[in-house]
Symmetry: D2
Subunit: 279 residues, 4 copies
Amino acid sequence: MADHPYIVTLRAPDAPGIVAELAKAVFQAGGNISDLGQHSEQGEFACRLEVDPTVSLASLREHLSSLSTQHGWSIELFEGTEIPRIVIACSTTLHCLSDLLARIAVGEMGCEVVAIVSDQLDGQSLAEQFRIPFVHLPVGQDRRDQEARIAATLGELNPDLVVLARYMRILPAEITEAWEGKMINIHHSFLPAFAGAGPYKRAHERGVKLIGATAHYVTAGLDEGPIICQDITAVTHRDSTRDLARRGADVERSVLAAALRLHLEHRVMVFGNRTCVFN
Amino acid sequence: MADHPYIVTLRAPDAPGIVAELAKAVFQAGGNISDLGQHSEQGEFACRLEVDPTVSLASLREHLSSLSTQHGWSIELFEGTEIPRIVIACSTTLHCLSDLLARIAVGEMGCEVVAIVSDQLDGQSLAEQFRIPFVHLPVGQDRRDQEARIAATLGELNPDLVVLARYMRILPAEITEAWEGKMINIHHSFLPAFAGAGPYKRAHERGVKLIGATAHYVTAGLDEGPIICQDITAVTHRDSTRDLARRGADVERSVLAAALRLHLEHRVMVFGNRTCVFN
Amino acid sequence: MADHPYIVTLRAPDAPGIVAELAKAVFQAGGNISDLGQHSEQGEFACRLEVDPTVSLASLREHLSSLSTQHGWSIELFEGTEIPRIVIACSTTLHCLSDLLARIAVGEMGCEVVAIVSDQLDGQSLAEQFRIPFVHLPVGQDRRDQEARIAATLGELNPDLVVLARYMRILPAEITEAWEGKMINIHHSFLPAFAGAGPYKRAHERGVKLIGATAHYVTAGLDEGPIICQDITAVTHRDSTRDLARRGADVERSVLAAALRLHLEHRVMVFGNRTCVFN
Amino acid sequence: MADHPYIVTLRAPDAPGIVAELAKAVFQAGGNISDLGQHSEQGEFACRLEVDPTVSLASLREHLSSLSTQHGWSIELFEGTEIPRIVIACSTTLHCLSDLLARIAVGEMGCEVVAIVSDQLDGQSLAEQFRIPFVHLPVGQDRRDQEARIAATLGELNPDLVVLARYMRILPAEITEAWEGKMINIHHSFLPAFAGAGPYKRAHERGVKLIGATAHYVTAGLDEGPIICQDITAVTHRDSTRDLARRGADVERSVLAAALRLHLEHRVMVFGNRTCVFN
């Protein structure tokens, strides 16, 4: 018996009675629901269950499968036996990378980093310390050439998730579309404020009294993908742009780690350009 | 048709299948569940549903009633047609009282204040401004005499909820027991720190860097009842005890208002000395 | 002897030695500095002192005056004997108005409301409850005619500060310029995000996980004036636009009250489009 | 010329005119004060200045030294050329250790870790990854023997600061007194709530809605030393004790890192059992 609950997610066109059917199926499989979240929006329904691991997995799988077949609902069962494989991309600013590695090193995130890819060499030393393969993909004469190598590298590694930990190059639509819903970026502002480059400089000029960070799924539109997690910290007139970057780094690292955990626990579902986060 | 969802709450001994049965009953009544929260703890199960007001109330009432009869579950249906009647108690510190009155005046809380009771006269002027009956119950030679008058006053008014908005006298067990689960107090610290009198003075002496407030149901044990809501604010070495009281006032008022709203929306369920808050 | 410190503010072109001179002058006047904040930016220097009220006011006034004359520095001494007179402007959304009135009613803000002006009638009832003159300035056929009446009304009332508490009309440059640094607005988003109309609707569409409010001095540029205070609150996918407006109301009221208090305590100094807030 | 300001701190019996004298000395040395914080409490005065690095260090040193001699004031000048040497102590819970190492690895804290000491072996692997000497000081038959070895180790290493990053043994008064003001501990609750062992378990039982962490200087009284930094995070009824520990870990690591940075920047001054934090 597992020491963690099994997770069930369901997506379907919205209609009355879905929860009743799903809960009945779990009950008939001999399972006990220990947590349940549901949401409907724009005609779509989503639900996430946690089922006590006392249930027979075979029975649960069978009942859910027949429910899915019967209604055409998209149902997934996560048994929690496979450790998710992630790739982290970075450039020259390394606090998010080092934070994720430090968390993973103490067993906090429940995932494995299969590679660190970067257009720069700065992250190599951290990669070596943590004994993680470092893939250097510098930009040469043709930007598109590097993009093709990134696409190929990700394709070969085939991770469950790609995390852009302050990777500072815009990815082409071929890549963002191929990894839709499987690529998370951290932006160093409370989006939609200061989308694009240089958010701390612009925050300083505007004289805001709080700065923030936003973790979101990557889409073709720059900094426009579905937001998973945001947080802010207070700043004052005494903070220079450099101070904002330093203070903001703390928010960036905790927001990115939180988004990663929410994703890995199957708590995030995308509805158009919005996310539903069951927590 | 109502313009707000109907609320259903359920309490029962924990067992598998309860949600399945409840969701089925709503479905069979023709209802659509728009929100669902569940929790189990210490062998007890609690659930809160919101049902779209498109359902026939008569049918929903009937299906829930037969479910309740069949299983012995405690099920309540709140139609939202009756405006809750509350009594506010205060003493000399009036910011929580004035805040609640200001919120209620702009239609924010969905409740009616049937009386303000106080051992002091300070609140009378605010009561008059808001045209609310003011009941002055001063303490004379015998403390127990005043307590009896409070008990009698509350008994006559028979409100849905009593809010202690910085009422500074300890209530006897006869009253706290009579109003168990129906009396909310605001304490001016992040309990369990600084329980009892003078929390801001003690917070200053201890040199804490944050102060807070706690809204809780009142029980016989002073400041020991189930906590509904807490929040804090940052303070510095420059804040005197008086500054702490001023800064803390902002937290007190927002925490008390939040707790009141959670209670009125039937989002709070008590499990022993802990609360489950569906939000 | 006063029961609060005297406040001294200084503005001057930045140069070494200003604090030394100012502190010397206070010392020679027999005063003790109990708090000191300083800031320089863009070649300008600002300083704010609190001086214990044990000092002779006449002596302090004389020493500061001669320092000002000698160096051409702009020095102000606030004795705290005059109660600031404010005008509040509102439209149909009244939670900020009712919050300010509730705070002022319990003596929290140290100011007097000399009038409530509005283009609508909604605030009249609150004004009457708090016995404050209500000036109704509706918009007729010519928008500019109403603007002229507002300008005239403010001119006659001549308050120390005008607070736009969800006043929903854009004021013309003649008014914003006449009241520069003396008119505070509350915007219902964490600016610069969602500047302009309908911020909660746009926040919902964008799927942000936090909403906020911004208090700023009013300038000719809409929602572009120097920011005094900002705060946010977390929201979820379950919050509708209406829920965001309700949750945001809590942030708006506390941010506006905080900004008002900071201004009245002479803690805010404007440097171009940024503020320096000594607290 | 340095690329950071010089820091000047002053401690003296409270009296008028100290800031004037200090500011004059800096001015006469040709220095420009870019930041100034002052505080007085219980008859003691403290002040912290930042002086632009354009000043001649020799001249600044001389003027401050003669001021100190003249008045008997305790004045320190930090030139920022020496990198502080710290020792980190840990036991079995490693998230604070790994977080500090990750921050230091990306150059964030401006200090060097000269050793990691522990009563357990769990931290050894992280120490090796970051190439930091690991000193294993297990407890044998006699607790006092281990304490003597810790005292000796710290004495030999002679660091500028000792950081207890979830070191789970109580240190004897000989050690805490020897390192007074130079030893920081992280406690996993918002003190004074849940002082002592097992705070998350007790927080769960009490049903609090927020949990926190406190960084404080270590004194002989367990969890009673001067508080440097505190923060909290919200929790719900759904969080088990284990969940609280996980969520709390995030607060612990950021609070400890913040306290470390404040200390290293000479921003913290102790007044009895309270701290003054200039930031």
